[in-house]
């Protein structure tokens, strides 16, 4: 990805502008298809991958101008590698690190409005420029005594534009990326709910404090301290964690040992959350992890925490680990989790059962062994191939109802997101789990 990206200086402001932005992208993507088939006539070697590359570039261009919720959706899709062709997800991942910054006077205003004091009055030093951009806010560096702090400031009006932005993204996700409409609906609902909760920094602070306290005993994991007195609904202050994002960390050529250690920490962190807390940091995109020089994994950003309902949890993991002594059968569980609906035709039921069994097998494969080498790309090619193949299955593609409980969508995504990070790390780890005991 050496080409220069279009810069993100301009943000289309009104809804109309944003809508027209998407239309332009639609047209562009359409013309990419035309170009693709024209090229293919001349040169049969042109692959579908090239087309995806072209499309991804245009879609990224449009999304990067939108910021806010649209960017968030791009991020979420980028994690969901089994849902998108690789080319798209690579482009989308780039969206994680750049968005146009807020001016310093507006940062001051946000502070005054929500805390009642300006950053200069609160901290000893405060960076005028944002150090980092997140999807719904930006991060400034501050200091207090000898303590280095990270201060997250939310873009004003993000909460208001969430729903409108998502409405814009939906037809785009359905037509251009070619997802099943019912599933996108369900997905969008979840995303909307999550985005709205993410705009509430009070909530994030509470969750962070709670999860951090609960996860204190996991080895090789580090959390920042959060500071209530310097936080509000729009501002969140925490310790500044030193460390590198995954991609930069990998460029330093870390040893296999270190990569395994990081991978293991990540695995343990997730396993503890899912199986002990039933509450998951459901946003495993690489931007939320900082790897320190000491090989310790720093975890930030608890905006997106998903609580798993107990019944759902039992049913879902009964699928992975069918109980030996009675209990509901796999078929019953498929119905209970709404993977298959009683109204489906007999023919479809057979296909669906087969497909979902395959999905469950894939998802739970790392659990089945004591050790699992996530660096082995064969497993991921299989996952990807499954994604491609299942998108062609008729009852899945043309479903009139969504498949899989919406909690399931989340958990699948979290797991595939986790697996994908472990894959990038190339970690070979012990896949211990509380559920195995």
């Amino acid at each position: 990805m050496s080409e220069k990206q279009p810069s993100q200086n301009s943000i289309p402001a009104s809804k109309v502008q944003r809508a027209s932005r998407f239309m332009q992208t639609g047209v562009k993507v359409g013309s990419n298809y035309v170009k693709h088939y024209a090229k293919k006539l001349v040169d049969p070697k042109v692959t579908k991958e090239d087309l995806h590359q072209e499309n991804a570039k245009d879609i990224y261009g449009a999304l990067s101008e939108l910021k806010g919720s649209a960017l968030k959706v791009a991020q979420m899709m980028s994690m969901d590698r089994n849902m998108l062709p690789t080319a798209y997800s690579e482009k989308f991942q780039m969206a994680q690190y750049s968005a146009p910054p807020l001016s310093y006077p507006l940062v001051v205003r946000t502070f005054r409005k929500s805390i009642g004091k300006s950053p200069d009055e609160l901290f000893d030093t405060f960076s005028k420029e944002a150090i980092n951009a997140a999807s719904i806010g930006q991060v400034h560096q501050a200091s207090l005594g000898d303590k280095k702090l990270a201060v997250k400031v939310q873009y004003p009006g993000v909460a208001n534009s969430v729903s409108a932005d998502l409405k814009l993204v939906k037809p785009f996700a359905v037509r251009i990326i070619g997802l099943n409409e019912k599933e996108v609906d369900l997905y969008m609902e979840e995303v909307e709910e999550m985005l709205l909760s993410e705009t509430d920094y009070h909530l994030e602070l509470e969750r962070s404090l709670k999860l951090t306290a609960a996860c204190q005993d996991i080895p090789n994991v580090r959390f920042p301290n959060y500071y209530k007195e310097y936080s509000s609904d729009r501002v969140l202050t925490m310790d500044w964690l030193e460390g590198l994002h995954l991609d930069k960390f990998l460029k330093t050529n870390p040893s296999q040992e270190i990569r395994n250690q990081i991978g293991q920490a990540l695995w343990d962190f997730y396993d503890y959350q899912v199986h002990t807390l039933l509450e998951v940091h459901a946003d495993p995109h690489p931007g939320n992890f900082l790897i320190g020089e000491d090989g310790i994994l720093g975890i930030i950003d608890f905006g997106c925490v998903k609580t798993l309902p107990r019944t759902f949890y039992d049913q879902y993991f009964a699928l992975m680990y069918p109980s030996q002594n009675g209990g509901p059968s796999i078929q019953e569980l498929f119905y209970a989790l709404k993977f298959i609906h009683p109204e489906d035709s007999a023919e479809d039921k057979v296909i669906l059962e087969e497909t979902f069994s395959q999905l469950i097998e894939l998802l739970s494969r790392p659990f089945r062994n004591d050790m699992f080498d996530f660096g082995d790309d064969r497993y991921f090619e299989e996952v990807y191939a499954f994604g491609e193949q299942s998108s062609k299955i008729k009852p899945l593609r043309e479903a009139k109802r969504p498949r899989g409980a919406k909690d399931g969508l989340y958990l699948n995504r979290t797991y595939f997101g986790l697996y994908s990070i472990l894959n990038q790390l190339g970690a070979n780890i012990r896949t211990d789990s509380k559920i195995k005991k």
């Binding site: 943000i11 402001a13 807020l102 001016s103 310093y104 006077p105 507006l106 001051v108 205003r109 005054r112 409005k113 200069d120 005028k128 873009y155 004003p156 009006g157 909460a159 208001n160």
Partner: protein, 213 residues
Amino acid sequence: MKNMRKKIVDAYVRHILSKGAPPVSIFHFMYEMGESEAEFYTHFASFHAVESSIWEEFIQDTLGKVKNEEVYADYMVREKVLSFYYTLLEELKQQRSFVVYSFRKRPRNGKWSSASCMKSFKEHFQEFIKEVLFEGEQSGELAERPFIQDRYKDLFWLQLLFILDYWTKDHSEQFESTDTLVEKAVNLAFDLMGTNILDASVDFVKFMIQHRP
């Protein structure tokens, strides 16, 4: 003396906000306050003058606060303007009902600027803008554009009216939409005033006209 002036202003605002219209006469207004009509004229010539003085105070307080901020000196020109707008909106918010009333009844015809209570407000604002723009030219943040740049201060006045108009109609929580509007409008203005494609185009056209083969 000073105190009486403030008492008149406060009573006037209170009257406007509770009755929705100016008092019937200066005599009646002062009578209600238990003062003589003559007392009024030692401070103001008319109700119009009272309203003007309120607007003038808004901008003077704003400019005072903005320029007293420690960071102000380090600000880029566009940040100075942004900071001005945010502080102004904060000032106006204290008396939003009155601002909305006074702003909405401003005359809309061509001559409104001299009739409006915002006349001296406008003068102070344009003074500030001129000062800032001059600084921008010195620092090279703004492109030099003879003739056009003389009109900038009027364009900024229109921008301010546009922002105030938007603010009086803003229903978003904490008027966040206005904040975003300010950010975008000011950035747009300064991006247009900096060296950009416009200068290159003018330069190109000038060359083609002067050097036709």
